[in-house]
């Protein structure tokens, strides 16, 4: 009898364990998320370097504490009514969105369920957080990466925004509010 035949059951069991571990740790995290590209290949770097734009020009806090978020078409068409450069991507953008006045359906990297409440005002003005602490180097990036979208729930797959853990850890360390309705609606 070969070794395999002698310990057939145990070997197969262990093989199953190993395959599951590999699938669970390597394949599943990749398969779990859909990578959805942005509709327009926007480059933050070009806009900060060449156009001299600052973060607050597009992403700012309103007086009532609401966050302006991703800018709407009227912000882009202020400059891009005519082509500002020579790229084919910009031409595609102008023809497809600026001219017909269509809003770009940007993918939100931090997309949360409706019952989640996040206040940029509290985190910027009171906690004095820098944008990079949650959003990474997005503001200096050359391309917007694809958004990771959970295939089952449909919400954000970015490590930082997948669940409450990152938020709760920081809140606990700094002694910030930790009750349910502080962050939920």
């Amino acid at each position: 009898m070969t070794v395999f035949q002698k310990h057939r059951g145990q070997i197969l069991f262990v093989a199953g364990v190993l395959v599951a571990l590999a699938a669970g740790w390597r394949a599943f995290p990749v398969l779990r998320f859909q990578r959805v590209p942005q509709p327009v290949a926007f480059s933050h770097k070009i806009h900060t370097d060449k156009a001299g734009a600052k973060c607050e020009d597009c992403h700012f806090l309103r007086d009532d504490g609401a966050w302006a978020g991703i800018p709407a078409m009227d912000k882009c068409s202020g400059c891009h009514a005519q082509p500002m450069g020579t790229s084919a991507e910009e031409k595609r953008f102008i023809d497809g969105y600026v001219t017909p006045g269509r809003e770009v359906p940007w993918q939100v990297y931090s997309r949360q369920p409706e019952n989640v409440y996040f206040s940029h005002a509290a985190h910027i003005k009171l906690a004095h957080l820098d944008c990079r602490q949650c959003h990474g180097a997005q503001g200096e990036s050359e391309t917007l990466g694809p958004a990771r979208v959970d295939r089952i729930s449909g919400y954000s797959g970015s490590p930082h925004f997948q669940d409450m853990n990152a938020c709760e850890d920081c809140h606990r360390q700094r002694g910030a509010a930790n009750s349910c309705l502080a962050c939920h609606k």
């Binding site: 806090l61 309103r62 007086d63 009532d64 504490g65 609401a66 369920p113 409706e114 019952n115 409440y117 206040s119 005002a121 509290a122 003005k125 009171l126 906690a127 700094r174 002694g175 910030a176 509010a177 009750s179 349910c180 309705l181 502080a182 939920h184 609606k185």
Partner: protein
């Protein structure tokens, strides 16, 4: 607690029953603010959702000496041994130490309704059906409050969406503390008779703290020891006596009706159409 959070408040209300005319503006403003859907035809007074609900009581006298009073009942935000928080198997209910508000998380609730049995004030409501709005009316939903699906319990949370908005506005101005009047629940704002006063019970300068200490103020079912934060005021002894009963002294006749009969012909009065 570090300096990152503001001084804890203990929000409460003082409701003047001598001013309340039973108009129901508070109920309506509450439902609009909190995305409560119009009812299904099957809903009854027991299965509907009324986070704020105005009850009618009478002085027990007969014609022509009968007089009515109206009592708006909402979650009493029990401050001690909160019954609903104690029984929830999901820990979906907790008291927020920063505001004293009893938080109900519908998204965490599994719908066992143990809390509804535990609440002595019947201030908790269950979503028996998925919410449905007439076509187009779902565009009037308030973005500051999440909608709930069927199978979960919900209740008043002192318009937490408005607290978020007030805090965000204060934060935009660099402030942690809220000015009095910056955060006002919908029912307080809507009351045409200004019968509801809202504020921080722990702030000795606030109107609500002054009213709560006043001799005319009382709370419902005080002997249960739940330390509710809603104070009711009246100068009429019969109102006070009726409100102290476990059930209102004379159950308003309308509450015994079941829905179902069509409106009389030619009455000019019609049940408004809804989906």
């Amino acid at each position: 607690m570090t300096a990152i959070t503001p001084k804890p408040a203990r929000y409460g209300m003082a409701i003047d029953l001598d001013r309340c005319t039973g108009c129901g503006a508070c109920m309506i403003a509450c439902a609009v603010e909190n995305n409560v859907p119009p009812a299904r035809p099957e809903a009854t007074p027991r299965t509907g959702i009324t986070w704020m609900r105005v009850y009618q009581i009478s002085n027990g006298a007969s014609f022509p000496d009968t007089r009515a009073a109206f009592i708006p009942i909402l979650c009493q935000q029990c401050g001690k041994d909160t019954p609903c928080a104690a029984v929830c198997p999901q820990e979906a209910v907790e008291t927020d130490p920063a505001t004293g508000i009893v938080d109900q998380m519908p998204q965490r609730c599994l719908g066992c309704r143990y809390c509804m049995a535990a609440c002595p004030y019947h201030a908790r409501y269950f979503n028996w059906w998925d919410p449905q709005w007439p076509a187009g009316m779902e565009k009037t939903l308030n973005p500051d409050v999440a909608t709930r699906m069927r199978g979960v319990v919900e209740k008043c949370n002192f318009c937490h969406g408005r607290l978020h908005t007030a805090r965000a506005r204060a934060a935009a101005g660099g402030r942690r503390e809220l000015h009095p009047g910056e955060y006002v629940p919908a029912c307080v704002e809507a009351c045409p008779a200004a019968a509801i006063v809202f504020g921080d019970l722990d702030d000795p300068a606030s109107e609500v703290a002054r009213l709560a200490r006043d001799g005319q103020s009382f709370r419902l079912l005080e002997k249960l020891g739940t330390e509710p934060k809603i104070y009711y005021r009246t100068a009429r002894p019969w109102v006070r006596q009726a409100a102290a009963q476990q059930r209102p002294a004379s159950e308003p006749p309308e509450r015994r009706l079941r829905a179902g009969l069509p409106a009389p012909q030619g009455s000019g009065q019609k049940e408004p159409a809804h989906a």
